[in-house]
């Protein structure tokens, strides 16, 4: 069973994502900020990360950058989540190696679909 790491500082959003991913048949780990996220990647390497950009402390972009810099997580599927709808941030995220970029509020079905695709690709 694939493991998904959910990183967000909004408890209710984490709650909804956790429920959605578990319902889709994945195992879920959660983190409230960047540092926790990096620690989780270390302890239980996930198959995919749902990563919020605005986090207290180190931001989602910083986390992404660090993960891409490491060989183990170089190709780890990462979906960026953001409440900022601006195109610049999307481009910045994609340029930094995010696999997808989802604007809040998102369609739950579409998000689950994206996760499935990315994990499926990885599996195949």
């Amino acid at each position: 069973m694939a493991n998904i790491l959910v990183v967000d500082d909004e408890p209710n959003i984490v709650l909804s994502l956790e429920f959605l991913m578990e319902q889709a048949g994945y195992k879920v780990t959660t983190a409230e900020d960047g540092e926790q996220a990096l620690a989780c990647v270390e302890s239980t390497p996930p198959d995919l990360i749902l990563l919020d950009i605005s986090l207290p402390g180190i931001s989602g972009f910083d986390v992404l950058e660090q993960l891409r810099a490491q060989a183990a997580t170089e190709r780890l599927p990462i979906i960026m989540l953001t409440a900022h709808g601006r195109e610049v941030e999307r481009e910045k995220g994609m340029a930094m190696g995010a696999d997808d970029y989802v604007t809040k509020p998102f369609s739950t079905q579409a998000l689950v679909e994206k996760v499935r695709q990315l994990i499926g690709e990885e599996a195949s």
Binding site: L17, L20, Q23, E32, S54, A83, P105
Partner: protein, 767 residues
Amino acid sequence: MLINYPNSPDASLANEGFWLDKSLWVALVLAVFIILFGTRHLDASERHEGMVAAIALESLVKLVAFMSVGVFVVFVLFAGLQDLFQQVALSPDLADTLRLDQVPGGTTGWVGMLILAFLAFLTLPRQFQVLVVENVDEHHLTRASWLFPLYLLLINLFVVPIALAGLLLGDVADDPDSFVLTLPLSAGAEGLPLFVFIGGLSAATGMVIVETIALSTMVSNQLIMPLLLRFRFLHASQPGQLAGWLLGIRRVAIVLLLLLGYLYHALMGDAYSLVTIGLVSFAGVAQFAPALLIGLYWRGASRLGAMLGLIAGFGVWGYTLLLPGFAQSGWWDMALIEQGPWGIEWLKPYALFGLQGWDIYTHALLWSMLANVGLLVGASLFSRPTPLEQTQAALFTEAMHPNLQGTTLWRGQTTQGELRDLLARYLGAAANQRVFADIAESQDAADQIASHALVTRAEQALAGSLGSASARVLINSVVRGEALDLEGLLSILDTTSQTLEYNRRLEQKSDELARIGEELRSANERLRELDRLKDEFVAMVSHELRTPLTSIRAFAEILRDGDNLPEHKRQHFLGVIVHESQRLSRLIEEILDLARLESGRLTLDPKPLDLAQVAQRSVDAISRLQENRGIALDSAIDVEPAIIIGDEDRLEQVIINLLDNAGKFADTDQPKVRLRLYRHKRHYRLSVEDNGKGISEDERERVFEKFHQIQEQGEVPRGRPKGSGLGLPISRGIVAHLGGRLWVEDAPNLGGACLIMELPEAPEQAQ
């Protein structure tokens, strides 16, 4: 005739026909002579250098003749001056005549006489003619200024000796005017009187010639010609015809002037001696002196003043000297002199306003000068000299100034051809040759614009013949554009200063524009900055709104799609949706508040209220929530009532926000919050402190920025709901609207942050 003199009968109108009077014939002969001498050819200019040379020679002849008589009398008839004066001293009657009080009018009369002579030397037409008109070079004045006084000194040297000798030796009945003739004659020297007579004759004729020419020139050039030139037909006349007119006028003037002179001699000759006639005319021409002299030194003198002064001066002169002269000659009632007009004593011509004891000349001089100078100065003070007058004065008085020599006074343009035509018509070909001497005549040249120097030369040539007034009129007729008189000059100056003024204004305007441009640029920058801030704000608002919306949508979709959700989960998720919806509503409310605060449309309802009550109510409202979170909240309200002017609901909103914030940032394990209300000077202060980590110095202002989330040390401990970042900015805005302040300090008791709200005490009448 000479030998018979003075026994030959005097001619007079009374007993014989005037045609038998030899004086008339002398006058007529002189007229013919002057016409031949002074108005011989067309280009008879105002200047007569030949005549001046003749007069100069004549004056030398006169000087030598007079001095010869002087020497003869003193050294031949007497044994030198000493002998003469010794003999005079022996005769008490004669000695008395040397005293000053023997002069008519005494000392006053002597001084008056000196002043008269001094003024006449400048203003007699013949003097003016030679001194000013005939002057070809201003530098001659330098020599004249010592030579002329020297001449006067020499010619007067023997006046007193000859007069005394005449009185000692001559017949008492002899005319003193004739002593120079009678003394040598009586001594039997016949050659000397002849020489003296020739000298005297030449002096007299010379004087008459110069005087007549001067006057006729004035009459023709300054009076008649300018008048005639106003008529068109003269301009259209044939070349040379104008000169004919001019010469004709002058000749007529000469004859008329001499006849007038003769008439005066014939009518008044008995009343006044030669000296007297001279003094009367001196007093007359002296009337020109005030305008001449004051005009030279006082630039404020105006034309009007000069005119009025002249009229008044001549009026008084005529009344005090001329009219009594007629009376004394029998042409007027002597009662005028003896009783005054209509018997009015104080109007007696020789004792005006009761002034008696003076000689008639000094008397007339005083009153006429008083009237003349008084009106000249008075009228000048009340009228301004026109620019033209000022310029003329400048050109006249600064004649020696090198910068002004050859100043061209023409601004308009004309061609050389037109100038040639003009000169040919009025002066004839000869003058044309002179003026255009250095310029070849050709068709090209005729079309060329005449230089200013050439125009000036042409004007001078015209002025020489026709007088400056006529010349100006004529030059004006061909020069397009007007003559550059002072008015023109000043208008150019005016234009220049106007241009300068415009330039100055333009400069001002451009400075202003630059400043406005600068302001616009900075306003634009401010707008850009505001635009950027607005974009940022919109982004922040969008972010803040999206966050609760994300949860709401996610759980709504989960609930929609999950048919077989366990009931407790369903309830939980619905609870989340409701909670997040409330958060969303609150957020929207806050954003609206902020917008209202910033646009100044926040509606407050300020009225006197007790802040202690509001504080208590706020504590009550939040205490349960805080208790639930395990926060220890205590309040210390030291003053009651604390009356301020404020809006109750808004203040409650602020206080709850402060308490809520403090709760969020209080210590994680043992959170404590304390509210205090106390008086500080004329204000009430409400402080809310917590035992959290506090707020660092550089963050203390930034917490009042919109959407500012306290980072790191001030970070909300985990598990606490975050704020929107709008609470503090809104609170500060509300407090500021109520005239108070809101700021951050270190907590004095609990060690964390302390927010202090200060509001002014209500005025007493409101309490």
